[in-house]
Amino acid sequence: MIQFDHVTKRYPGSNEALKNVSLNIEAGEFVFVTGHSGAGKSTLLKLIAAIERPTGGTVLIANQNISKLKSNAIPYMRRRFGLIFQDHKLLYDRNCFENVMLPLRINGIFGTEAAKRSRAALDKVGLLHKEKAMPITLSGGEQQRLAIARAVVGRPSILIADEPTGNLDAVYAADIMSIFQAFHQVGVTVIVATHDATGISATQRRVLHINQGELHSNEVIQAADHTQNSGYPI
């Protein structure tokens, strides 16, 4: 599904954010990306989500080389992903329902079908009763759940979350993780970046640990659990 082959990413005027990273993420996996702030987690996620292109090496998403993709094909590639940003990136000039509608509008889905799907997505994250509320009135955890609703409304096959629990207390964090868990259960590939590794051991997933741009460990914690959860049809 996602293949990195000796991938290097260098931003102009700085050191390499990622050095010679090779990895392979299968469809239906649940993967954690860990590491300190500035280790290169966000860069890795941006490369996966086709937001950045690698400086060296190849990134294959669903067997398509991101570097060789024409720029007008990039938007369609991005629609395969559901993105959850650390700062939510919610739009504060419209209510929850309209926030969730945005990806559908981009996909050209309108009318009752769009409304139905938006409500279904809000329902999945437990925010259906707040559809008319403005995002600013929501708590931090609720805002993050709204961001998840927006990410999944387009029914992506890959869900990518950058520090989704970074600003949340433990109860909310567990709440968010259980939502990801639910999507993983129905076959969605989930990739979550987090700087604090606590709570991962409880969920027992594959962990990619990045340190100063290098991939240090690429291991599966409790392999048995991983195999049990992989192989869901997408």
Partner: protein, 302 residues
């Protein structure tokens, strides 16, 4: 197709909603466009109308021969024979000083100055209709007539209209330049307005790009905004122009009645209105296209 139409309809609806939320600023920008279009268009209407008027007059190939005051009746007869034999003269007509005096006195009730005149100041005159219209041929004919003995002056009736026509052609050129300059100003104004809107929608554009919006999806509402500004601006311009011309026509009517002409400025010049609307819409579209493309590339999400 349906999908494509839906996209456009949604973008259009979105723009209308946004405009309704900022009615005042939308009205103001449309008004600016309207005024900027109105100025050259008004001048154009003036010049265009005068041009058709003088064009109509220019076709007069009439030469007036004013004879010397002391010319004898034999001399007049000689001239008349000369004129009737001349190959380039279609017809000629003699107006004697007595006839002219009578005509003038008939009009004298409107002009007290004429009543003051004690004796006839008018010369005998021939009015010649040439059978050529080319200016060169007419000019050589005029010179020929001037040389005839007993002729005081040979004058083109349409001489002043020619000068006016040249002036009007110059005026037309000036209008094109003014219009071009104002078009550039409009481009900048609309571009700047759209740029401000883009800034207020920056978050939405950024998120949309991140989750897979194409550039055309992002551009579309702004392009519609530019087009609508242009369209509303043209509407303003047309309404303003029509009212200004109507006010002017009142004075023009008084003036042209004095010349016993029914000349009026045309109010509804559909060709002009159509081209104004077309140009305004195009400028609106182009201004926002440039602004939104610059904004998208400045965001560097690619």
């Amino acid at each position: 197709m349906n999908h494509w139409l839906n996209h456009h309809a949604q973008a259009f609806k979105l723009v209308l909603t946004r405009m309704r939320q900022n009615t005042l600023s939308s009205l103001l920008i449309s008004l600016v466009i309207g005024v900027a279009m109105c100025i050259p268009a008004l001048f154009y209407v003036g010049v265009d109308n005068l041009s058709t008027l003088t064009h109509h007059m220019q076709n007069d190939n009439e030469i007036s021969l004013f004879l010397k005051l002391d010319v004898s009746s034999e001399n007049i007869e000689q001239i008349e024979q000369l004129l009737s034999k001349h190959p380039n003269i279609q017809k000629h007509r003699l107006v004697t000083k007595e006839e002219a005096w009578q005509q003038l006195q008939a009009k004298s009730d409107t002009n007290p100055a004429i009543q003051e005149l004690s004796k006839n100041p008018l010369p005998d005159a021939f009015f010649i209709q040439a059978n050529k219209v080319e200016p060169e041929a007419l000019d050589s004919l005029r010179l020929e007539m001037q040389a005839i003995e007993g002729v005081d002056q040979a004058v083109f009736n349409a001489d002043w209209t020619k000068r006016l026509a040249v002036l009007l052609a110059l005026g037309e050129k000036i209008i094109y330049f003014v219009a071009a300059l104002l078009a550039i100003a409009l481009l900048v104004i609309i571009g700047n307005t759209v740029r401000m809107q883009i800034l207020t929608q920056k978050d939405e554009i950024e998120v949309s790009k991140l989750i897979g919006a194409t550039n055309s999806f992002i551009r579309m509402p702004f392009l519609y905004a530019g087009v609508l500004y242009g369209a509303f601006g043209a509407l303003f311009a047309i309404v303003m122009m029509a009212s200004i011309i109507m006010i002017f026509n009142h004075s023009v009517a008084q003036l042209s009645d004095l010349y016993s002409s029914d000349f009026r400025l045309t109010i509804f010049d559909s060709k002009l209105f159509l081209s104004m609307t077309g140009i305004a819409i195009f400028i609106g579209w182009l201004g926002s296209y440039i602004a939104v493309n610059r904004a998208i590339s400045a965001m560097k999400i690619d």
